[in-house]
């Protein structure tokens, strides 16, 4: 068991945590913006997105802008709750260490 109670395995990677940080405060964000914000490679980002998708923390939204497809990502309620719990767990850990 992790020392910090309530930590979410799905957020072990900083990239995944980063993706969720951006998606909880924005309605939907496209791939390019995520890539620029997080400063990661296409492949790296894609694999982390896939794993977040698998646990239903985010959903993919494909739109057509003219002839081009534009892929955006939206955090699900479940994903937002999981993110919130994770942050709270870190905060509680930091608080208990501050005593």
């Amino acid at each position: 068991m992790s020392i910090i109670e309530g930590l979410n395995k799905n957020f072990e990677s900083n990239v995944r945590l980063g993706i969720m940080s951006i998606l909880v405060v924005n309605e939907s964000v496209d791939f390019k913006t995520l890539k620029e914000m997080l400063n990661v490679s296409d492949g790296n980002l894609a694999s982390h997105i896939k794993s977040l998708e698998k646990v239903n923390y985010i959903i993919v939204e494909k739109k057509f802008i003219g002839k081009k497809t534009n892929t955006s990502y939206i955090a699900t309620l479940q994903g937002k709750q999981a993110f919130k719990n994770h942050i709270e767990a870190i905060e509680n850990f930091l608080k208990s260490n501050n005593k």
Partner: protein, 214 residues
């Protein structure tokens, strides 16, 4: 589990949340210069119609004569020209300082947050513009200055969700000032100078110190 790593993570998360949803390239200097131009504009209008304004200062609060006829027409035209000049200079210098800040911090100037910021700014602003046009149309000149302050304040409050929180408090200050000035007819120019001039300069300097100076 180490404390520092977690502190770092939290700081990073916070930064990502802010950067992705708020426009943080807005420079405090934009506000300072907008305020300086507004004050300069107010001074020009004041000196052009000094006779009226000085009589207004010495007159009884509710017993006075407003501008009429040719003089009023002259006042309206002059004020509109000054207003437009102030607006254009403020937007241009604002853009200059904001672009400079974005460049320094390696941030994109045109992203989702700017788009949201502008849309939310312009909805109350355009509403206010039409409202003021209606006042002009009906000849209710004395409520125009207070109305600009109120709608500008509401526009700032609305847009503040997508930039620094300070903008929200600036907006609230403008609205309060505008509402007060509605009851002091004929003093519009002074409230205008206070709201668009002094408040911009104060908030601009405070934002510059908080976010720009590093």
């Amino acid at each position: 589990m180490d404390v520092n790593k977690n502190l770092n993570d939290i700081a990073e998360i916070k930064e990502l949340m802010n950067k992705s949803s708020r426009f943080i390239s807005l420079s405090g200097l934009s506000g300072v210069f907008a305020g300086i131009f507004a004050l300069a504009g107010a001074v020009l209008v004041f000196f052009r119609f000094m006779e009226f304004f000085s009589s207004r200062i010495s007159a009884d609060l509710y017993n006075f004569e407003l501008l009429k006829g040719e003089e009023l027409k002259d006042f309206i035209t002059f004020s509109i020209i000054i207003g437009i000049a102030v607006f254009i200079s403020a937007v241009l210098t604002g853009l200059f300082f904001t672009l400079r800040k974005a460049k320094r911090n390696n941030q994109k100037i045109w992203d989702l947050s700017v788009k949201k910021l502008l849309i939310n700014l312009f909805i109350p602003l355009i509403t206010g513009g039409v409202f003021i046009f209606a006042l002009l149309y009906h000849g209710i000149i004395y409520l125009i200055a207070p109305t600009t302050l109120v709608f500008y304040g509401l526009a700032l409050i609305n847009a503040s969700k997508f930039t620094f929180r300070d903008v929200r408090f600036l907006g609230i200050s403008e609205v309060i000032l505008g509402l007060i000035s509605m009851f002091f007819v004929g003093y519009g120019i002074f409230f205008w100078a206070l709201g668009f001039g002094v408040l911009h300069i104060i908030y601009g300097i405070s934002m510059y110190i908080k976010y720009d100076r590093k």
